[in-house]
């Protein structure tokens, strides 16, 4: 590398157009267990903008009497994700996220107030104009804060404001997310994943960023959700993943759901 280096022109792969993005989600805690849960494409998206991660608790530690570098310990991360979407598509998406069906056999109205619980895992996929996967942004466990449709001059586009307590991450080309959900029978210790999890950079490689929930280097999260419970329990010990085998040391209770979110190589 020289001070006088003259770089070449940007390569064609850097130019990614709007239509080359694809957004899809898997419902957290779907009505039926499935391995894998089939992702659902989102129509009408104009823009997905994750905000910077901020931590609700930070501590700065340094030793009295020394001159060590100051280091900040950050806990309880949160970030916002604004999804700008055509109003018509938002009016279809919001009930879907709440597992509601409009019309016959379903409901005809939904109050615009939302519980503070994860609704979806969002996967924003970037592709080259040729269709080749260029990489993805993954926002797990998104919680919908509120939804206020606007009828202004640009009323055909509205914003769905999500936030998450689970760090977003970017993913390499050729990899995609998998969400497997199993129903525990109360005795089985082993569950077979639908694909082999890829390694993801985990907290052990980010020394001062503890307590992010990433307890393994090949799964974003493993949760066990008691039957009919809204809130699941993140598993931090008592299980391991070897290949496609998810093995617990103690069998999860019968009727509870086992949820695992991980990345696999695209076939």
């Amino acid at each position: 590398m020289s001070l006088t280096d003259n770089l070449g022109a940007p390569v064609k792969e850097v130019f990614i157009d709007n239509e080359n993005a694809l957004h899809r989600y898997t419902l957290v805690n779907p009505a039926a267990a499935a391995a894998p849960v089939t992702p659902v494409d989102i129509y009408g998206v104009q823009d997905v903008t994750p905000g910077a991660v901020s931590c609700k608790k930070t501590f700065e530690g340094f030793q009295q009497g020394g001159r060590g570098e100051r280091r900040k310990i950050m806990l309880q991360p949160e970030y916002n994700v604004d999804v700008k979407i055509f109003l018509k598509d938002a009016l279809a998406l919001v009930p879907a996220l709440l597992k509601q069906t409009w019309g016959a056999g379903g409901h005809y109205g939904i109050p615009l107030a939302f519980e503070d619980k994860p609704l979806i895992n969002l996967e924003s996929i970037y592709r080259l104009p040729s269709g080749t996967h260029a990489g993805s942004l993954v926002c797990p466990d998104l919680i919908l804060k509120d939804f206020a449709p606007n009828f202004g001059s640009d009323g055909h586009i509205t914003t769905l404001p999500f936030y998450s307590k689970f760090l977003p991450f970017e993913m390499k080309a050729g990899a995609e997310m998998v969400y497997d959900v199993f129903t525990a029978d109360g005795s089985s210790l082993n569950y077979t994943l639908s694909a082999t999890p890829l390694n993801i950079v985990d907290v052990s490689e980010r020394a001062n960023m503890a307590d992010l929930g990433w307890v393994l280097d090949n799964a974003v999260y493993v949760k066990v959700r008691a039957a009919s419970a809204d809130i699941a329990t993140l598993q931090t010990s008592g299980f391991q993943i070897t290949g496609t085998d998810l093995a617990f040391t103690t069998a999860p209770a019968a009727g509870s759901k086992i949820e695992i979110y991980y990345a696999k190589a695209t076939a």
Partner: protein
């Protein structure tokens, strides 16, 4: 990265012409037309098929990054010319259909799925796509109506915007 920086005008023109020619050789309704490299010249035209001509591209700007050379944005005019008199077939509708096909071709990712063969300099690139050549389509506009002298002659022009990488 087939396009050569110093030959970018003619290389881009050849690549687009080869793409159109491939469609015309194999895909209906393109097979009803014929491709012409450059602006069609002649005192008297006598052609039985509608002409799709690929005019000279124009550099319209650059896309830079810090530390080096830029990519180039270009516009290229693609014309449809239906001959007058008894020679033309389909009349104004045929001309508009051709223009519509050009607009749609360069308005969709399908433009990258057609493989074609082109020779740039001394190198022949066999069965490559527009994207293989480092050309990205950013839009198409038109068609503009081009006035003609013969009352039964019809011309339309479509402008295609490109990013050319090297």
């Amino acid at each position: 990265m087939a396009i050569r920086r110093k030959y970018s005008v003619s290389d881009v023109q050849k690549v687009i012409h080869a793409l159109i020619s491939k469609l015309i050789s194999a895909t209906s309704p393109w097979t009803s037309w014929q491709a012409v490299y450059g602006y069609p010249e002649g005192e008297v035209f006598n052609f039985s098929k509608l002409l799709v001509y690929v005019d000279t591209p124009i550099k319209t700007g650059t896309l830079t990054h810090q530390g080096g050379r830029p990519a180039v944005t270009m516009e290229i005019v693609l014309g449809c010319w239906n001959s007058g008199g008894d020679e033309g077939t389909g009349g104004v509708e045929e001309c508009d259909i051709a223009a519509g096909h050009l607009l749609d071709l360069f308005g969709d990712v399908d433009v990258y799925s057609t493989q074609f063969t082109v020779t740039l300099g001394a190198t022949t690139y066999t069965n490559k796509t527009l994207y293989d050549h480092g050309i990205i389509v950013t839009g198409s506009t038109g068609p503009r109506n081009i006035p003609v002298e013969d009352p039964l002659e019809y011309r339309r022009e479509v402008t295609v915007s490109l990013i050319v990488t090297f």
